[in-house]
């Protein structure tokens, strides 16, 4: 009897102590090197300053929208901050699954006093999305398998005579149809107008048809670097950070082809319907993790460009290799001479439709 009551009292005390001091935040990200960069640049410094906050990671960003929707239906949100791409954030915001932000009041201003919304600028895509990085989907090629004239434009992907061999492309229409139209002679600013018509879509698929039997389609970002390293493909698209680690960290005979790299953004959303206590804790972390210095720090670990204008001058050297990171950023002027800006609104409308056509085309 005495023992039980002592035990009860102790556990009650720990419970009280537990609620009073520590708070667990569950962050959702993509795993791998990217999540590690967030851990080093944001989470570890934050936890050092706030010993009462404990950050837990979940590597579910690829299924974030589906899982958040399921959690919402079940009425039990177990995530506190979720890393998603812009297109997913649009859908989460549309479905009411993400909290709308008051950017200027809830995020830190730049060191020179520029408001957060001005500092993030165009990267603020919708009311729920807090951008972190600019990344790009671009090409890498095997330096030893392309002969004396390495590919210089994205259209070399479609040139089987000059560059025979397999190439890897992502198993989805986004980016691929735009590159196809561009290389079929459509002006860059007319791509989405052309793609909006049935003839334009047929034209894109006809261009892709010319290389269809030489394409290996990937669905995970790690596949292209592996295929390049094995010599299975001579060139292939993937996220620029993956290519950076294959080139700089693993010394593979691979080089970047930055032409018509497709810019995209990745950032946080706060799930809608958090308890007031959790929400306050998350917003405090978010303010810290998206300030100018923290975004610049992340570039020490991975070659993705910070989303704030004020962070760019602060980008330094790679944490382990000690090389300058600026030339490896997709946003570096030398790399960004010809880029492709993905139209989120257009894809939000046409993604399902074009995906059905793309899958039917693949299955032919």
């Amino acid at each position: 009897m005495k023992l039980t009551s002592t035990l009860l009292a102790t556990s009650a005390l720990t419970l009280v102590a537990g609620t009073a001091s520590a708070i667990d935040l569950t962050l959702v990200s993509w795993g791998g090197a990217y999540q590690n960069s967030q851990l080093k640049a944001y989470a570890e410094p934050y936890m050092a300053e706030h010993p009462d906050v404990n950050i837990i990671w979940d590597e579910s960003s690829a299924e974030a929208v589906a899982k958040l929707r399921a959690m919402n239906e079940a009425g039990n949100i177990t995530w506190d901050l979720v890393d998603v791409t812009v297109s997913d954030s649009i859908r989460l915001c549309d479905e009411g699954l993400a909290r709308e932000m008051d950017f200027d009041n809830e995020l830190a201003a730049a060191p020179d006093g520029t408001s957060a919304s001005d500092d993030f600028g165009d990267t603020l895509n919708n009311d729920c999305f807090i951008p972190q990085i600019v990344y790009s989907t671009t090409f890498g090629y095997r330096t030893d398998l392309v002969g004396d004239t390495p590919p210089s434009t994205v259209c070399d992907i479609f040139d089987l005579e000059k560059y025979p061999g397999k190439r890897s492309l992502q198993k989805r229409p986004i980016d691929n149809v735009e590159w196809a139209l561009y290389c079929d002679g459509v002006a860059k600013d007319e791509i989405y107008d052309v793609l909006g018509t049935d003839e334009g879509q047929a034209r894109a698929f006809a261009k892709l048809d010319t290389i269809k039997d030489q394409v290996v389609w990937w669905s995970a970002g790690a596949e292209t670097p592996q295929l390049l390293a094995d010599g299975e493909v001579v060139m292939g698209s993937t996220f620029n950070g993956r290519l950076f680690s294959a080139i700089a960290e693993q010394n593979q005979p691979i080089a970047m082809l930055w032409d018509m790299q497709s810019f995209d953004l990745d950032g946080w959303i706060v799930p809608a319907g958090l308890s007031a206590e959790k929400e306050a804790a998350v917003l405090d972390f978010l303010k810290f993790a998206t300030d100018t210095q923290r975004l610049a720090d992340q570039a020490k670990y991975i070659s993705y460009g910070p989303a704030r204008a004020s962070s760019a001058p602060l980008v330094g050297k790679h944490d382990a290799l000690g090389i300058d990171m600026a030339p490896h950023m997709p946003t570096d002027p030398a790399n960004a001479s010809n880029t492709h800006l993905y139209d989120y609104g257009w894809w939000a409308d046409n993604r399902d439709d074009l995906d059905a056509k793309f899958q039917a085309w693949l299955a032919q």
Binding site: E63, R91, G96
Partner: protein, 547 residues
């Protein structure tokens, strides 16, 4: 005495009729047995049957349109979609109320993404209109507030719409100021729903939405949509009905009716088409109209490459037809994989069953080993083996069997899927075969041979028939597992080796078209049950043995 005893019912020691007593004892026993299996039964029901039933139900469920745009759906019933013109003012005035109410609750974009599955482009129409629709409400609000500033106050609205009892309870709640106690649940005033149907139903929605949080109705700003609804109600209601409204707001309402009579007529259709020309597009309205029912066959039609159109059901454009092809491919490839497993597994199981127990146990570990290795690792290993610069091609080139320029393509096609999945599913074939073969006495084969049968006849006439139950069990297991696989086909199947389950996974986790995923899943489940039925008719399910 003896007669009565024999004619009356048999009785137990305590005097109750024996039959009754026995029934009671049996019932108790049954209940006890049920209690024993109850944990498992409840577990299976809650975690397995209920979610599956719920998921399957989604394949026909379509509440979202009628729930989000209730008044529009009703008004749209009479619209003739073949007229070639977008609906009239009546539908647009209903839409003005519905859309703003939905935008206030932030559910209009959800409906946009639902309808976008059927008609690409609607999601941005809805998103854009959400921002613009509020201006319509603001315009009306300004007119009412200019006439009497009291309309701005949430108290005015609560007093007009709430029942007297609710107002009394609410006043008590305000006076008590108790922490953590929610505001009393809102109740509409008697008769107001008849006098001001649109206003009262939007207010009820507002009350539900506000009170689902911790906010109070009298502290929350009125939605601009109330003023649109009020203007519409006042324009149609007769003065007697307006006069019949009781309560504190009655005088204000009378005054508003007089003011509203002086309003400029509002062109709702023009307002919406100004926000986005899409509202004048007949195609968009056809989509809303044809998906306004609470249950829809749309997902099922889509799942078999058909679509709904004003002229009835028709095939989808050829460039979008994919599901039938994938269903057929999934079926025949799964059968082929099952066949390969049987072909490879049968001799292995036979050897295992006929070896000394100690040797058989060692070999059994080799069969089980793949079970202990991650599925992803096994699939990736096949990539390393089969790719063009892979181990098998390297060996063939080294042996001179294959020219270096013409390395074999063994992955990212159907061959890759069949090889990798046969390997992964092999244990599921070997284990049931082995356990059945273990029970076949070796003496039978010896007897057949000593009676003059050739080894083949002895095997085919004596041994094989006895192993059929194992073949049945193994084949069913392999087949059912194969049709549900998607990770392996996704990784090694390329474009020609993917299954219907890859599409289901895509719709669950990427496109979020759960209705379509549910319809595809239901069809797949139906196909399996049908095959099972056929199997039962031909082979007989009693002939299946797992051991």
């Amino acid at each position: 005495m003896s007669d009565t005893t024999q004619n009356g019912p048999m009785r137990a020691a305590d005097g109750t009729p024996l039959k009754k007593s026995l029934a009671r004892a049996l019932r108790r026993q049954k209940l006890r047995a049920l209690a024993l299996i109850a944990p498992l039964l409840i577990f299976v029901l809650v975690t397995f049957i209920a979610p599956i039933a719920d998921m399957l139900f989604r394949s026909v469920q379509n509440d979202i349109v009628a729930d989000t745009l209730p008044r529009t759906v009703v008004a749209l019933k009479d619209w003739d979609s073949t007229s070639g013109e977008s609906p009239g003012e009546e539908v647009f005035s209903a839409l003005a109320v519905d859309f703003q109410a939905a935008a206030e609750q932030k559910i209009h974009t959800k409906l946009g993404s639902r309808l976008n599955y059927e008609n690409p482009g609607i999601s941005s129409l809805f998103r854009k209109t959400g921002r613009g629709a509020e201006d319509i409400g603001d315009a009306f609000m300004d007119q009412f507030v200019d006439a009497n500033a009291a309309w701005k106050d949430s108290e005015t609205w609560a007093g007009l719409m709430g029942s007297d009892e609710w107002l009394a309870e609410q006043a008590e709640w305000v006076a008590a100021k108790a922490e953590g106690v929610k505001e009393p649940k809102f109740r509409l005033r008697d008769g107001i729903a008849d006098a001001l149907p649109r206003t009262s139903s939007t207010y009820a929605t507002f009350a539900r939405d506000t009170q689902s949080g911790t906010k109070s109705l009298v502290k929350t700003k009125p939605w601009p949509v109330f003023f649109v609804a009020l203007a519409q109600d006042l324009a149609t209601a007769s003065p007697e009905v307006i006069a019949s409204v009781s309560g504190d707001g009655a005088a204000l309402l009378q005054e508003a009716a007089a003011t509203a009579a002086g309003f400029e007529p509002f062109d709702y259709k023009a307002a919406f088409t100004d926000i986005d020309k899409g509202w004048d597009n007949v195609g968009n309205w056809i989509t809303v109209q044809s998906y306004s029912a609470r249950y829809t066959p749309g997902y099922f039609l889509n799942a078999v490459d058909l679509e709904k159109s004003p002229d009835g059901i028709q095939a989808r454009p050829e460039q979008q037809q994919i599901y039938i092809k994938l269903f057929v491919r999934t079926m025949w490839m799964s059968m082929l994989i099952t066949g390969c497993c049987l072909l490879l597994g049968y001799p292995v199981a036979w050897i295992l069953a006929n070896l000394r127990a100690s040797t058989a146990n060692v070999l059994m570990i080799l069969v089980l080993l793949p079970f202990w290795t991650s599925l992803l690792v096994r699939t990736s290993a096949w990539k390393v083996l089969l790719q063009q610069q892979g181990v098998i091609n390297d060996i063939l080139v080294w042996l001179g069997l294959v020219d270096d320029g013409n390395r074999l393509v063994m992955i990212n096609n159907q061959f890759g899927t069949i090889v990798a999945m046969t390997h992964i599913l092999l244990p599921f074939m070997i284990l049931p075969l082995y356990s059945v073969m273990k029970t076949v006495p070796p003496a039978y084969l010896r007897a057949a041979k000593s009676l003059g049968a050739t080894p083949w006849t002895a095997f085919w006439r004596v041994y094989f028939p006895q192993s059929v139950p194992g073949i049945g069990a193994g084949s069913i297991l392999c087949f059912i597992l194969a049709i549900g696989y998607y990770i392996t086909p996704e990784l090694v199947g390329g474009t020609q080796g993917v299954f219907i389950s890859n599409r289901i996974a895509f719709h669950i986790s990427s496109s979020l078209n759960w209705g379509l995923a549910a319809a595809l899943g239901t069809i797949l489940l139906g196909a399996v049950l049908l095959l099972y039925y056929v199997y039962d008719k031909i082979v007989g399910i009693d002939n299946v043995k797992l051991g």
